[in-house]
C-alpha cells in the first residue's frame, strides 16, 4: 500500500510537469490548430538559462522568476519573428518550421552548454517527509500554483478573456477591437513561460542535457490527447493521469519496468487516436460540407 501511495505521488509529481507542458501545447493549439513540436525544446532551453543563472551565483528563486520572464519574452519573439511571417503558409510549412525550431534549439543548446549531463539544483531538500519525497511534493505544489494562476488569468482578467475570444473567433474579436495578432504572441509567451516552469521542475530529477525534454514532450502530448487537445482543463487532467499511469504500469507490470515506460505513452497516443480522437473532454468539431 505504501509503495502504491508513493508511486501515485511520484506519478502526480511528474504528471504535473506533463500537465504544464500539455497546457502549453493546448494554448498554441487552440489559437492555431497546430501542435508546437518545439515546445519541449523551448522548455529545455529555458531550463538551461535557469541553470546558467544559478551557476553564476543568482539565488534559485530569483533565477526561477528571471527565467520565466526571459522565456515569456522569448516566446513572444519567436512568434513575432518566425511564426507570424508564415501565418498564411500551408499547414505543412508551419509544421516544418516547428521541427526546424526544435532542431535549432536543440543544437544551439548543445553548442553552448555541450551534451554532457548537468546536475540541476532543486530548491527542495531531497529527503522523505512522512514517506514521501519533499522534492516531489514541491514539484506538485509549484505546478499546481502555476496551473491555478493560468486558470485565474483566463477566467477573471479582461486580457485572458480577450485571448480566449481571439482563439475562438478571430474576426469577431477584431470587430470588438482586440488586436488578435498580439493575443497570439501573448499565447506563445505564456506557453513558453509555462514550459520553463515544467523544465525547471523536471530537471533535478532527470539531470539536464539538451535531449531532456524529448520524452517529456511525448508524455505531455499523450496527456493532451487523452484529456482532449481542444480542452485546457482536460489536457491538464490528462497530463496528471499519464504521469500516474506511467508510474503504476512501470511498477506493477514487470514486463514494462522502467525500460518500456515510454511505450506506455505511445500506446496511449495510438489508443486515443483510434478510439476517441477528440480525447475525454475534447469536443470534435463537425463541419458542414
Amino acid at each position: 500500500m505504501e509503495l502504491f501511495v508513493q508511486q501515485v505521488l511520484a506519478g502526480l509529481a511528474v504528471g504535473g510537469i506533463y500537465a504544464s507542458l500539455a497546457l502549453a501545447l493546448v494554448m498554441i493549439y487552440q489559437a492555431t490548430e497546430l501542435v508546437n513540436f518545439a515546445q519541449g525544446e523551448m522548455a529545455m532551453f529555458s531550463t538551461y538559462i535557469a541553470w546558467q543563472l544559478v551557476q553564476s551565483g543568482i539565488p534559485f528563486w530569483a533565477a526561477f522568476f528571471l527565467t520565466i520572464i526571459i522565456s515569456f519574452a522569448g516566446g513572444i519573439l519567436i512568434e513575432r519573428l518566425i511564426i507570424r511571417p508564415a501565418r498564411n503558409a500551408p499547414v505543412l510549412a508551419i509544421v516544418i518550421i516547428f521541427i526546424g525550431l526544435l532542431v535549432i534549439l536543440n543544437s544551439l543548446a548543445g553548442w553552448i552548454w555541450t551534451y554532457t549531463n548537468q546536475i540541476f539544483p532543486s530548491p527542495f531538500p531531497d529527503r522523505p517527509y512522512l514517506g514521501v519525497n519533499i522534492q516531489e511534493l514541491g514539484a506538485i505544489g509549484v505546478t499546481l500554483v502555476v496551473l491555478l494562476l493560468v486558470f485565474a488569468f483566463f477566467r477573471y482578467t479582461t486580457l485572458g478573456l480577450a485571448m480566449r475570444a481571439a482563439a475562438q473567433n478571430p474576426t469577431s474579436s477584431r470587430l470588438v477591437g482586440i488586436r488578435v495578432g498580439w493575443m497570439l504572441a501573448l499565447g506563445w509567451g505564456l506557453a513558453a513561460a509555462i514550459g520553463a516552469v515544467a523544465g525547471i521542475m523536471v530537471a533535478p530529477k532527470l539531470q539536464l542535457d539538451p535531449n531532456i525534454m524529448g520524452s517529456v514532450l511525448l508524455y505531455a502530448f499523450a496527456g493532451a490527447l487523452v484529456g482532449g487537445i481542444s480542452s485546457p482543463g482536460g489536457a491538464v487532467l490528462g497530463g496528471f493521469a499519464v504521469g500516474v499511469i506511467e508510474n503504476l504500469v512501470g511498477t506493477y507490470v514487470p514486463v514494462v519496468g522502467s525500460q518500456l515506460k515510454l511505450a506506455v505513452a505511445l500506446v496511449l497516443i495510438i489508443g486515443v487516436l483510434t478510439v476517441r480522437p477528440a480525447g475525454i473532454f475534447g469536443r470534435s468539431v463537425v463541419h458542414r460540407v
Binding site: 479582461t158 478573456l161 480577450a162 480566449r164 475570444a165 475562438q168 473567433n169 474576426t171 469577431s172 474579436s173 477584431r174 470587430l175 470588438v176 477591437g177 482586440i178 488586436r179
Partner: protein
C-alpha cells in the same frame, strides 16, 4: 457634415474585384440602408468600411480618414459592427460576450451602467447572462450581437442582415428595438438587408447596389415608391 463619407470605394477578394468605385454618405443620427440582390456587394461594402478586406478609396469617418486604418483602430473610433451570421463567441457566456463589446473602453465605471442599459433593451439576455452564448436561439444571438456592439457606445452601428434566418415576429421586435436605439441614443446606423421593405421602412436614406456599383440612391420614401425597385426588390 456627414458622419461617414465614402468615395470611390473599391474592394478585392484576392485578385477578384468585388466593388467598383462606390460613393455614399451617412448622415449623423440617420439610418441608411444598402439594398441589392445576392452578390451585389452589400456585405463587402460593410466589410471594407471596417477594414476586414483589402480596399482602396477615400473613407472619412467623423472628419478623419480611415481608409488606411486597421479594423481594431476603426472600432476604437466608434464603429460597432454587427457582422453577417452574428459573430457570436459561442463558447463564452452572454455576459463575457458583452464584456468583450466594451473591450476598448477605458471608462470602466460607466461600462457597468451600459450592461443595465443593453439588458433594458433586451431583457431576455439578462435572464441568460450566465448561459453559454452558443446555446441561445438565433433571435437571441442576434440580440446579443447588437447588444455587444452597443457596449462600445458606438457613433455608427453597422448591421449586416439582422433579420437573417429569423421568424417574422422576432425580426419585427428586433427592428423596433433598433429604431428605439437610434432615436434615444442618437446612434447612426448603416443597415444591409435582404428584406428590402423592412429596411426601407426603418431607414431614411437608401442606396441600391448592383454588381459592385451604386445604381440608385435617395430618400427611403422615394425609393419605396420607385417602380423598378418596387417590382424587383419589394415584389408587388
Amino acid at each position: 457634415m456627414a458622419l461617414l463619407e465614402v468615395k470611390d470605394l473599391c474592394a478585392y477578394y484576392g485578385p477578384i474585384q468585388a466593388l467598383h468605385g462606390i460613393d455614399f454618405e451617412i448622415e449623423a443620427g440617420g439610418i441608411t440602408t444598402i439594398l441589392g440582390a445576392n452578390g451585389a456587394g452589400k456585405t463587402t461594402t460593410l466589410r471594407s468600411i471596417c477594414g476586414l478586406i483589402r480596399r482602396t478609396g477615400t473613407l472619412t469617418f467623423d472628419g478623419r480618414p480611415i481608409d488606411r486604418k486597421q479594423t481594431e483602430e476603426i472600432v476604437r473610433l466608434g464603429v460597432g459592427h454587427v457582422p453577417e451570421g452574428r459573430g457570436t463567441f459561442v463558447t463564452l457566456s452572454v455576459e463575457e460576450n458583452l464584456r468583450l463589446g466594451a473591450y476598448t473602453r477605458r471608462d470602466r465605471g460607466s461600462v457597468g451602467e451600459d450592461f443595465e442599459r443593453v439588458y433594458g433593451y433586451f431583457p431576455v439576455l439578462a435572464e441568460r447572462r450566465e448561459q453559454q452564448a452558443g446555446t441561445l436561439s438565433g433571435g437571441e444571438q442576434q440580440m446579443l450581437a447588437i447588444a455587444r456592439a452597443l457596449m462600445l457606445r458606438p457613433r455608427l452601428l453597422v448591421l449586416d442582415e439582422p433579420s437573417f434566418g429569423l421568424a417574422p415576429m422576432i425580426v419585427e421586435s428586433i427592428f423596433n428595438i433598433m429604431r428605439e436605439i437610434n432615436e434615444s441614443e442618437n446612434v447612426s446606423m448603416l443597415l444591409v438587408e435582404q428584406n428590402a421593405s423592412l429596411a426601407l421602412e426603418l431607414a431614411d436614406h437608401a442606396y441600391l447596389l448592383e454588381t459592385g456599383q451604386v445604381v440608385t440612391s435617395g430618400p427611403a420614401e422615394t425609393l419605396r415608391k420607385d417602380e423598378v425597385i418596387r417590382r424587383s426588390y419589394l415584389g408587388y
